[in-house]
Symmetry: C3
Subunit: 204 residues, 3 copies
């Protein structure tokens, strides 16, 4: 199925982003595997725990095998992959965009409300990376001034809105994922960021 | 219902405490929303996952709407709110006191034992703040030498004890919450702290 | 039952390792209790949440009582216990080895697949310590160049393999736990570590 393939692709892309952290820190293979798995399945795991449905990677070995395969490849080729900084960030952006929509869709599909669906989209798309950064002791995407969580938010939010106004599911998913991807792409290519809370206000 | 209102109030107070972190770091609006939500619902989410009951904010949009509303207000008024340091700490103390009792009560109500109920009270009252500090990369309340976790512990513990000796539920809840509030208030007003592990012992 | 006793012993050993962090930082008694409990039951809690089974310490007070008892003892004797650095690390190694096998066994016993069972063994054996280090703001075992996660991985993996090739459950468990213990012991006694990702490759 296409959807299943997309899902594995998303886990794989995030696993790459996870193992890069291990390679940058010069860690051993088990750390490659640990960070690849944590980042690859972390967001979806949180989503499933919160929704009270079985965790997606528990009943099928496929997802863990993707993480293992990525770790092995990265153990040999991480130095090459790291050279492609921009393609890598775009790959991560595609994973994030797809997951923000898939997280929201999963919540809606089991009858949860709009706000919950948006929260699930954001959690699925971003939590794996947050876990990775917290365990690695690095600043997470939340405290960096980049359009990342915001793009996931836009993707999940627009999917839910388009779904509510009656657009077909695949159109809604496509448009929403594209919106998230464009916003994140703008951050990658042009350094887009949201206005931050003006520190000068503090003096007022 | 009064209890429902108190619950929203608790989420709201913690959401304020969460978004303050985003404002201090000068982050963007999505970070305000993220930290408000994480802090507002984090403790109760852990409690419900551990107890194996549906997560409280999943089946109703109200809690997430409270977090959203708080984030919007804080985005405009955080610099004013931050001026009221002491009232803010008292508001957080009220939330902590109420949640330590409500967490323990929820565990008892589904038939769990005394020790588990105390652990749930402490987790509900403190885990949102711990999550916030870990993600923000700041020292958590656990490693600060303040009466905070201890006050939650006293609140949850005394509620369970008073409940076991047969005091009416509302009396037990009131007395226990007041005890937690007084202990935390002592820390706010007079810098109360528990004796810490004497480092000098190490030399012995 | 022997198995029950072993389980309490594992929680107790990890609780000691947790409270040591509180003693090193010179924190108060509640922090001793917090870190002892987090480290003692953290790994098994994650395992049970992921597997979708009731969390093991919720329905019986025994596990929390072990953590409380350890905290009280450590509050008085931590300075003495800390003197025994090597015995302490060996005790932790025994807990890790036992838990890597018990985590994998629990997953297999409810019909999960081999990869999932290995992941559960590693999570049970290491996650309590990772949580402790993240909350305490210290570098976790994952980013330290020591054979720790790898030993848990070897223990869980060999148990699953030996189980699949038809070795009796107790033989498989014994051999796997011994393997994990020897690998970890090698790290403690001789500083064993896995080869790390060569930073020099980056220049190539």
């Amino acid at each position: 199925m296409l959807l299943q393939l997309l899902d594995y692709l998303g886990v794989g892309v995030f696993a790459v982003a996870g193992s890069i952290v291990a390679s940058r820190k010069g860690l051993d293979f088990i750390a490659f595997l640990f960070f690849a798995t944590l980042t690859g399945i972390g967001g979806g795991t949180l989503r499933d725990l919160l929704l009270g449905v079985p965790v997606f990677w528990i009943k099928s070995d496929g997802y863990l095998m993707v993480c293992l395969a990525v770790s092995i490849l990265m153990w040999f080729f991480a130095h090459i992959v790291e050279g492609f900084r921009k393609p890598l960030r775009w790959a991560d952006a595609i994973g994030m965009a797809a997951y923000s929509v898939m997280g929201a869709a999963k919540a809606l599909s089991i009858g949860d409300t709009a706000f919950v669906a948006v929260a699930m989209g954001v959690a699925t798309a971003t939590f794996g990376g947050v876990l990775r950064d917290v365990v690695a002791g690095e600043p997470s995407a939340i405290v960096k001034q980049e359009v990342y969580v915001s793009a996931a938010f836009a993707g999940a939010g627009s999917y839910v809105v388009l779904n509510y106004v009656g657009l077909g599911n695949w159109y809604a998913a496509g448009i929403a994922a594209l919106l998230a991807l464009c916003l994140r792409g703008g951050a990658i290519e042009f350094g887009w960021s949201l206005p931050s809370y003006p520190k000068s206000k503090k003096g007022s």
